[in-house]
Subunit: 234 residues, 2 copies
């Protein structure tokens, strides 16, 4: 249950390197944590005490912005890393993280992690590649925020959620978020998000039912932003 060998998250970096002997002795030192819905497990500004992997669940990563405005950096689910931003020179987490629904986490302390990286070079290399991809993603996001209109940013956020979490047969996202969260992720206000949702519903591109949101016509929605853009995956 708690060991990595039986874990199903094949995209997890530890799992991928579990066959290396150097790594196995450290796996037993990882902590398993269970978070209830909306529970925060990383505090922004707190001393970094290691890396987290999402074993199962949904997480949002936040950062306090200007005027205390909340910014959602990204969402994460099964297999993904959280807390890697605190690993460089800074010894404090630059972000906070909280569970959207009940979430099972694996936690490696910085000490253990450091030892693992020293011993298993393939892991270090994978981490480097991971960071480099994250960097590309982040810079694409900079470009988006700098140049997209609010409507485009909101649509882009919906497509991001769609790509990441998908939607069930009834065509609603496999994740439920309040409008405010979409706003904080897209970099705008709740009102704008609501207005744009209204428009998109009228245009038969989106459907809602209470908190639930789903895309009706994915290709058409995609078309609207990919028109003048190259490929922007994030």
């Amino acid at each position: 249950m708690s060991d990595c060998v039986s874990c199903e998250n094949l995209n997890c970096m530890i799992k991928k390197n579990i066959h290396h002997e150097g790594i196995q002795k450290y796996v037993s030192e990882k902590h398993n944590i269970i978070c209830k819905k909306s529970q925060q497990f990383i505090m922004e500004g707190a001393p970094a005490h290691g890396l987290f992997f999402v074993r199962k669940g949904q997480v949002k990563v936040v950062k306090t912005g200007i005027y205390g405005r909340e910014q959602i950096v990204r969402f994460a689910h099964d297999g993904e890393i959280i807390g890697h931003r605190g690993f460089g020179t800074t010894k404090h987490y630059p972000i906070g993280a909280l569970a959207i629904k009940e979430t099972h986490l694996c936690n490696f302390t910085n000490d253990v992690l450091q030892k693992m990286l020293k011993e298993v070079h393939e892991l270090t290399f994978d981490m480097m590649l991971f960071y480099s991809e994250e960097l590309n993603r982040s810079e694409t996001k900079v470009r988006k925020f700098a140049q997209m209109t609010v409507r485009e940013k909101v649509i882009d956020s919906f497509l991001y959620i769609y790509r990441k979490f998908g939607q069930c047969e009834d065509d609603f996202f496999n994740i439920q978020l309040p409008r405010k969260d979409f706003a904080d992720f897209a970099g705008t206000t709740e009102e704008q998000v609501i207005r744009i949702i209204s428009s998109l519903k009228k245009e038969k591109l989106l459907q809602t039912s209470g908190k639930k949101i789903g895309i009706i016509d994915v290709p058409l929605l995609k078309k609207e932003i990919s028109e003048h853009n190259y490929f922007l995956d994030s």
Copy 2:
């Protein structure tokens, strides 16, 4: 002249690891390139053929954005890496790079680099840390772009230039850029930049003389953005 041992850029990652035996045999395989002013040496979208280090000079890193609008990702000078964004999974450069003034570059091909990383684990580790710092920087930038006003973004850009290139005794930046470049970097339009420069001149915070720009009162300018912000270094 062309070997790393005598190089003065102590912040360069290669120089830092030059004492490792594994690295020295590869240093001879690096290429030295000299770029004239405004010459482009990385084309956006071209196949990635390695990493560049700035030996001496000034470089701007650009990315074509929405509607073909140009976005300046960052500026670089002595000792800094360029082209690392093309190293992950993508085999094409996601950015372009061009010399602002005459610039001397060192170029390692991807092959050589790969070999170096395989052999010198400290280098891989350093690269990982480098990427992780870049990621933090980039995400700070996302937040800025999402939440700052145009005035704040422009001021922030001036402070960035000040931090990175400094200014001489006559209080002008050690780099000359057209207003348009500041706009592309700050994520706004040339007109806005010009307007804000005018205001700042009236407020005795900035001085200009033709293309030259300099900050008169750094702490006061800093204060304006750091007021509601935590520490934002980029």
